[in-house]
Amino acid sequence: MVKTVGRNSERSGATDRLRRGAAAAVRGGFFRITVVATALFLYLPVVVVGYLSLSPGSQPSIPLDGATLRWYVAVLSDARFVRGLVTSGVIGVVAAVTGTGLGLLAARTIVRARLPRWLRAFVGVVVAIPLFIPTVVVALGIGITAGQVGLGFGLWPVVAGHLYWVLPFSTFLIASRYATIDGRMTEVARDLGADGITTFRTITLPQLWPALVASVLFAFALSFNEFLLTFFLAGSGMTTMPLEIYGKVRIGATSFLNAASVLVLLFSGAVAAVAASLEPPT
């Protein structure tokens, strides 16, 4: 096989090299165009809304006849929107911290626990359920169950739903870091007389730390932006940032909404970017 190729390339020589060089250039061009187009596709809409949020009028006309930050001031002094923002922030912190704690326990179970393999796999599958089933089914299921057990609608069902929603992300993020820690180190620590808590604090925790912080940040971003679960579970007594935005989107596109969108995107983007710098996404 190798011999044939050798003879072939000798025979065709320069033209063949030229042809293959041209093919590689075309290929490179194709890939570069796809990548640039994808980047534009993902971010151009956001840039457009950012531009339109500077509109002096409540309904931007393209091109804008001036630029002002008045809609940002309006958003941040809108009592309903700020209340939604604060509620989303509080739910996000609770869901992120609790979710990361439970995610750590789940990750430890999947990666390290001295339990039968099927049991660890079971924990992994149960935790992963919300990744693969339609969110609307999860939301309806939790909504109906909350009604049946007398929890009704409101803050607690929303927090529970968000906690469940962020759990698989936290679990698998922490598990992939957990798996890189050498299990023999913890065994040695224990042989030297350290108890479980000391071993965890001095050996495992320092190595897991970046993944835990990243998990809190990612989970916060997920919960902060989650719409559908909240829509099903919130009832009429509470509002969150995504519910507020959705309500306004349904009414119509305005400069107010554009400014609110930019604020929300910048905030979530910053949180996620810090998380990604601590724990790269793969």
């Binding site: 980047a39 693969f132 339609p134 609307v136 790269p280």
Partner: protein, 304 residues
């Protein structure tokens, strides 16, 4: 992924060993209890709710009305089209990223391509309103440039086209969907693409294979696990999406989650909403069953 404590090179005394197993069970119980209480129990109560009051199949009988079937088939079809579109974009992009991108740009590009995962999808969908509306960016540019006389109907317009039972989504619905689900597929595909040994591609090219041949015979078989993982993660969310069709679909493109939500929110017919959900879930799960059985895919999902 496997814990290296599975087989230790030295024996462990029996007493403390049992106590540690007990600790493991207790620590495992907390997250498992939450996942069962909020995942398994609600699914069971959906099934129970769907056959109430007392015990009846009338909610399922009502499902056979053609309007619901049409919406169900449309939702599943749109899921197929959008998942396919995401994969078609993700293949060249992640291939470039894993094998042609200069290493120092690799991580920043990957992070920026996956950042929309953590952004608000209601907001991301909303941004397309300003791109595609009659007074939006695209139409302003096209009319000012004299390409069209009057603005095109791009926002909330059905495509009217389809392949067999599969309807193609209208422009705004399609773009909005790809915008929010592409990052998931990019992430799972990248994980697989990174592990594709580039020397295989070079060897195939040296042996005279063209780009199509390299793609079909090397890239696809080496990375299909990532493609399936991405499909598993986005398909059900697309077929079961609520906010995106509410914001970007034409009234004739109603999807299953919108009907479920209406039954839950406005009609307050919980049993019927539950029956719709159960049928939808069953269809999706049966479709997934095949993929999830493969050990390759399971390994891939664990990595993710």
């Amino acid at each position: 992924m496997r814990g290296s404590t599975d087989r230790l090179p030295w024996p462990i005394p029996n007493g403390p060993d049992q106590r540690r197993t007990l600790v493991d069970v207790v620590l495992a119980a907390l997250p498992t209890a939450l996942a069962v209480a909020l995942g398994v129990v609600p699914l069971l109560s959906l099934v129970v709710e769907s056959v109430s009051p007392p015990v009846t199949l009338s909610n399922y009988a009502a499902l056979s009305e053609s309007v619901y079937l049409t919406v169900l088939v449309r939702s599943l079809g749109i899921g197929v089209v959008i998942t396919g579109a995401c994969l078609a974009i993700a293949y060249p992009v992640t291939y470039w990223l894993a094998h042609a991108c200069p290493p120092r740009y690799r991580l920043p590009v990957l992070v920026s391509f996956t950042l929309p995962l953590w952004l608000n999808y209601v907001v991301l969908n909303y941004t397309w309103v300003w791109i595609l509306a009659t007074d939006g960016i695209v139409n302003t540019v096209l009319t000012a440039g004299g390409v069209v006389d009057r603005p095109l109907d791009l926002l909330r317009t059905a495509s009217g086209a389809g392949i067999g039972p599969i309807e193609l989504p209208g422009p705004s619905l399609g773009l909005g969907f790809v915008h929010i689900y592409l990052p998931y597929v990019l992430l799972t595909m990248y994980v697989s693409m990174e592990r594709l040994d580039y020397r295989q591609v070079e060897a195939a090219r040296d042996l005279g294979a063209g780009s199509l041949r390299v793609f079909v015979d090397i890239v696809v078989p080496e990375t299909y696990a990532g493609a399936i993982a991405g499909t598993l993660i986005v398909y059900a969310r697309i077929a079961g999406a609520f906010a995106t069709p509410q914001i970007l679909a034409s009234p004739s493109e109603q999807m299953i989650a919108q009907i479920i939500t209406t039954q839950f929110y406005d009609v307050l017919d919980y049993p019927f909403a539950a029956a719709l959900s159960v049928v939808f879930l069953l269809v999706v799960v049966v479709g997934f069953g095949i993929g999830a059985l493969s050990t390759d895919v399971r390994a891939e999902l664990k990595r993710w």
